[in-house]
Symmetry: C2
Subunit: 352 residues, 2 copies
């Protein structure tokens, strides 16, 4: 089959690789119907995260079960499934606590699984899925083409935006600022609206992203950044900060923006992968009682409830996909996101 391999900065290639097979009895093999490029894939693409040796890439995909191992209990060939961005058993104490990204059998697409068996990554034609019962969520039936983007968004960005909102305790009546207008930030806007936020301020300076933020439920858009951005947010709220600041970027500046935007006693929900590990200013947090909670999103735990709203049409996170390409144009899918010509690129294997 064919799958994407990253070789180094700005060098992703579709290559021929071995077909996946059932290795462990808890495995499934899934034929990919759609996958996508994640903002975090760009770290390797840009060379910020060095690529020591060529490796498979891609951790967001949906598809159809082709084969299951002898111990797989909940899935059968032919089912359409959503694969969250990490592999889990969904039964360990951390999974039961809703933190599947700390599963005791946690593994990542494209890396060896918990048993040491290499797994496939998502940007390919087929994938061996370890711990299939725990990892995959089947949809009620095959989604049509119209629903497909929103179902695909549940593999990462929608769940991650939701995690930011949940981590910050967004609920009915909350005032919210969203820092970051990438796919995750936009989904955080949608998640905040879905959770009943009353005021949602999207921080964005790009017209197309501002438009989507408003479509997703933003009540206000603030284009300024830094101290000016914070001042504008406070102005919109009569001088107060927001109950919840959702940090969806991962830089020191964006985290500071989030901390400064929150009201005393408010919360920062953060899902931006910390770039280079900016540390948090504990004295500011102490003085202001602004808390910080979040991290690598337990998307697996959120899929069932979010899928229900996707299926009913209540939310349409798939609108973040503004570029759809055949899998063999994967290099362009990366370039378009890197150059911010696309918010998020979807890839369709010819075998889909």
């Amino acid at each position: 089959m064919r799958a994407t391999v990253i070789h180094g900065p700005f060098d992703v290639r579709l290559e021929s690789v071995p077909d996946p097979t059932i290795v462990l009895p808890t495995d499934a093999v899934v034929r990919v119907v759609a996958s996508c490029v994640c903002g975090s894939d760009l770290w390797a693409y840009r060379g910020i995260r060095p690529t020591a040796q060529p490796h498979r890439i891609g951790h967001e995909f949906v598809g159809v079960v082709e084969e299951v191992g002898s111990e797989v209990r909940t899935l059968r060939p032919g089912q359409f499934v959503i694969a969250p961005f990490s592999i889990c058993d969904n039964t360990c104490p951390h999974c039961r606590n809703g933190v599947q990204t700390s599963c005791t059998q946690l593994a990542w697409w494209g890396e060896p699984d918990h048993d040491g068996v290499p797994s496939d990554a998502g940007q390919g034609e087929r994938v061996r899925v370890p711990l299939a019962d725990g990892t995959l969520v089947a949809t009620p039936e095959h989604p049509g083409e119209a629903l497909l983007p929103s179902v695909l968004a549940l593999t990462d960005v929608m769940g991650t935006g939701h995690h930011a909102a949940r981590s910050a305790g967004v609920g009915p009546g909350s005032t919210v600022a969203v820092i970051g207008d990438g796919a995750v930030g936009l989904c955080a806007v949608l998640a905040a609206r879905r959770l009943g936020a009353e005021r949602i301020i999207a921080m964005s300076r790009h017209a197309s992203r501002q438009d989507l933020a408003v479509r997703f439920g933003a009540t206000d858009v603030v284009a300024e950044r830094g101290a000016e951005g914070v001042a504008h947010v406070r102005d919109l709220l009569g001088g107060l900060g927001v109950d919840a600041a959702l940090e969806c970027v991962g830089t020191k500046e964006s985290m500071q923006q989030a901390l400064d935007s929150a009201r005393p006693g408010g919360m920062v929900g953060f899902v931006g992968v910390p770039a280079g590990g900016p540390e948090l200013p504990v004295q500011q947090m102490f003085s202001s009682n602004v808390g910080v909670r979040g991290g690598v999103a337990s998307v697996r735990s959120y899929i069932p409830e979010l899928l229900e709203d996707v299926w009913s049409g209540a939310i349409e996170p798939g609108l973040v996909f503004d570029l759809v390409l055949p899998l063999d144009q994967v290099a362009e899918a990366y370039a378009a996101m890197d150059e911010r010509r696309a918010i998020k690129s979807m890839l369709r294997p010819a075998t889909a």
Copy 2:
């Protein structure tokens, strides 16, 4: 009257100072019945926080209203009142959010109030109380000598321990570790028990403090610190961390202990004044989804509910006072706490 003045490291003196009077119509004058020394007072006492010039000290006191200004509506002379450790109007948006320590008219005992008028500190015979309606909480009647210590504990340590537990989301069934066996840490144990925690691990290596922790509801005591302490906590919980780690010290080491003790997705509730501003490791927080929330406790907001339980005898936080001295022995009250001969010292003015 006489009041405590700090002159420099290890030099606190009881001195003659002007009697307080009503300066603003929102003031009250309170005759102090009991005050106490705070762990944070020791920072100045030890010279860690330099004393540029001699100043009044003490921010925890209870007493009897002697006089009120013309605009004071809720208090009258003769009432027994609790003064939280900061001054607030209790009506601004931050106060209404329950964060009185970010009041728009916030002020501190012994410093100029929001209007620039110097205020008295607590370790004296009388105190001018700015914003008396907002700051003070009257008790149902005068507490007897038996209740007095627990009522006094509501000025700071009990509310601060409660804030740690609330910030970390402690509730029925929670597993909790408390880092710090000072008066605040011990009160955090009591607060966790009161909120329904199922397992409360007190980290302490001092027999008398361990005993009080158990009396306050600790189910386990761990004497080790650092990695050994974390390993012991995890052992007690079948290899998992706690739902809530309550950080009641304020050093980089204690914060790390708290972060390492929490389970994935757990919370650190922190109330230890950050000593020198150790920053928080955002990458660890991201990977583990352990959140951090807390800060300078909004004790004012907690007094009514905690007072109810003190008054009924349901909780007895006053047990943290293991040394009671007349006000003129204030120097010994500090020395005993500094040398850890006392958990917490109470001071009784001769005029009480």
